[in-house]
């Protein structure tokens, strides 16, 4: 057993700052395994999907004629990776509720809103650079694979390619932030992940099956995954929004839930 008293007062300059909250959130993010695992999982999902698609495309009857969008082929992993990355966003908040850590967190930061913003900051700061690097890697790797198979390829300098690469990283980052918001609103890992899966993955397909065809396409293009397609596709599919409209709609899907999360976080008992 050691000393029983505090010998030295903590330096009087220490006080609560937003920078401090962000640093605290960073310590939390880096010190649990799930963070690294989800980022790694998302990266693998991107790489494996992109490279498999790149090496199997052109092997059907259409041959090289089937390759109309070599960029999109290598980035097709975004569809799956955004879910894994979204889970990271969910866990950053829902973990705190399931373990009780949120009580320590909100006691240190009673104004609460900085906690949510701090979480968004570290999630964006982690996911965006990581996924940007992964997007470039899988793009270059995939083009090399397709080039070796004498299929059409794209280069980073081609029109729309850079936007697609950056846009893919933005999409995954945005979905991670939606995850943060859902985790904070629902306070439950299972509930938030299910909601996220339905929103970004199932709704486009389900909507296609269930909605009346007269307004199906008009409604579905406003879903987050369709909106992000509008600004990440070099060769856009028909029926999507324009790229800037898509960006605005996607941004609304990110900011809207976050605002709701902030309002609820301030008002509810922890």
């Amino acid at each position: 057993m050691s000393a029983t008293t505090i010998d030295r007062p903590v330096a009087a300059k220490s006080r609560l700052t937003f920078g401090g909250v962000v640093r605290g959130e960073w310590v939390k993010l880096r010190s649990v395994r799930s963070s690294g695992l989800t980022v790694l999982g998302g990266a693998l999902m991107m790489l494996v999907t992109g490279l498999i698609f790149a090496s199997t495309v052109g092997s059907d009857s259409d041959g090289a004629n089937g390759v109309t969008d070599p960029t999109g082929i290598t980035l097709s992993g975004v569809m799956f990776a955004q879910l894994v990355i979204g889970v990271l966003g969910v866990l950053v908040v829902s973990n705190e509720y399931s373990t009780g850590m949120i009580r320590s967190t909100l006691t240190a930061v009673p104004s609460r809103t900085p906690v949510l913003l701090g979480k968004v900051a570290v999630v964006v700061g982690t996911v965006f650079p990581a996924m940007l690097a992964v997007s470039f890697t899988v793009f270059l790797g995939g083009q090399a694979v397709m080039g070796a198979a004498k299929l059409p390829t794209a280069a980073i300098g081609d029109p729309g390619v850079l936007a697609a690469l950056v846009g893919s990283a933005v999409t995954m980052t945005g979905v991670a932030v939606i995850g943060v918001a859902l985790g904070s609103i629902l306070r439950s890992t299972a509930g938030a992940i299910s909601t996220l899966v339905v929103l970004v993955f199932l709704l486009p397909g389900l909507g296609g099956l269930l909605l009346p065809s007269s307004w199906r396409d008009n409604a579905l293009k406003y879903l987050p995954s369709r909106a992000s397609e509008a600004f990440t596709s070099v060769v856009p599919a028909p029926g999507l929004l324009g790229s800037s409209a898509g960006a605005v709609v996607f941004a609304a899907w990110v900011v809207g839930p976050l605002l709701l999360a902030a309002v609820l976080l301030r008002g509810r008992d922890a």
């Binding site: 505090i6 220490s14 922890a270």
Partner: protein
């Protein structure tokens, strides 16, 4: 300094805290006592703004908790429920909380040392025993070197060594001039550490008294052992005197001091083998105070005292 004024908290139809008002002063250990479900933990959660009150309010060191620029330096709190991610190490837990206030690794290591967790600082908290988890929680409370320390059931899960340690810690903190507010449902524990008591039952204030006064208010009789109890009873009988036989030549006398009893016995030539004033334990005083305020009582339990 903690000021609680007319504090009320309802969860749905249930009133957890009901118009509670009291003040906790610096320099002494103040015990916060009450049966389970009396509203102690709720009051503490309201104190640090985790829940918002239905009515009334609380102030810590003169301001509502959220109004301070460095909340962790004003009040350090250990709440009853665990508040740690099990996958994180003790050191990272403290670093993450400290970082919000610019409290760095140096202070964190110092605190780990104070609470006796320096050797396990890098182990995942999920593998900690209940007692180690409790020490970590106390470490969080001390992290900001706060002027006010609030601990909810701090001895829970601690071994005898740990219990002794926490008693010393609480007294030292109070001696340094801090406000120390400690809850317990165990009177015996409070008897060892607290000088002042705030007693609650069913969310209401039952008593706000110095420990010494509370004990004094619950007087008991005197146990007298003698081979000639019938002569003794005859010698002591009088107005306001109640004598109960306890068997084996022992009687319990109320209404007379030990001096009176000894003098009268001598006058009657009655030998006394034992003359013991029965001090009410704090436990009994507490039981009497909260008898009506116990929320959950086993049906087979006979009333104590």
């Amino acid at each position: 300094m903690i000021e609680v004024e007319n504090l009320t908290k309802r969860y749905g139809p249930k009133t957890a805290v009901d118009g509670l008002s009291f003040t906790v002063r610096p320099g002494v250990v103040t015990g916060f006592l009450g049966p389970n479900g009396a509203g102690k933990s709720t009051t503490m959660r309201l104190l640090v703004g985790l829940d918002s009150p239905t009515a009334g309010g609380t102030k810590v060191n003169g301001k509502p908790y959220g109004g301070h620029r460095a909340p962790l330096r004003e009040i350090g709190v250990l709440l009853e429920a665990r508040a740690v991610h099990p996958g994180r190490s003790a050191r990272d837990h403290l670093l993450a909380i400290g970082a919000t206030h610019g409290i760095g690794a140096k202070r964190v290591d110092e605190v780990l040392d104070v609470v006796g967790l320096a050797e396990v600082a890098k182990r995942r908290v999920g593998n900690f025993s209940l007692g180690m988890g409790q020490r970590l929680g106390i470490g969080v409370a001390l992290l900001g070197d706060p002027r006010t320390v609030v601990l909810d059931e701090p001895v829970n899960g601690l071994d005898p060594d740990g219990i002794k340690w926490i008693r010393h810690l609480l007294r030292d903190l109070a001696t340094e001039g801090r406000t120390v507010f400690v809850s317990s449902h165990l009177m015996s524990e409070m008897a060892m550490t607290a000088e002042h008591l705030v007693v609650v039952g069913r969310g209401k204030l039952v008593a706000d008294v110095p420990v010494a006064d509370l004990i004094a208010s619950t007087r008991r009789g005197v146990h007298v052992r003698s081979p000639r109890t019938s002569d003794l009873v005859a010698a002591l009988q009088g107005d306001g005197v109640r004598i109960t036989s306890l068997g084996d030549g022992v009687v319990d006398v109320t209404g007379l001091s030990t001096e009176d009893i000894g003098t009268r016995a001598l006058a009657g030539g009655i030998p006394l083998f034992e003359l013991t004033p029965q001090r009410a334990s704090l436990e009994e005083a507490y039981t009497e105070l909260t008898r009506d305020a116990v929320e959950y009582r086993g049906t087979s339990t006979r009333e104590a005292a």
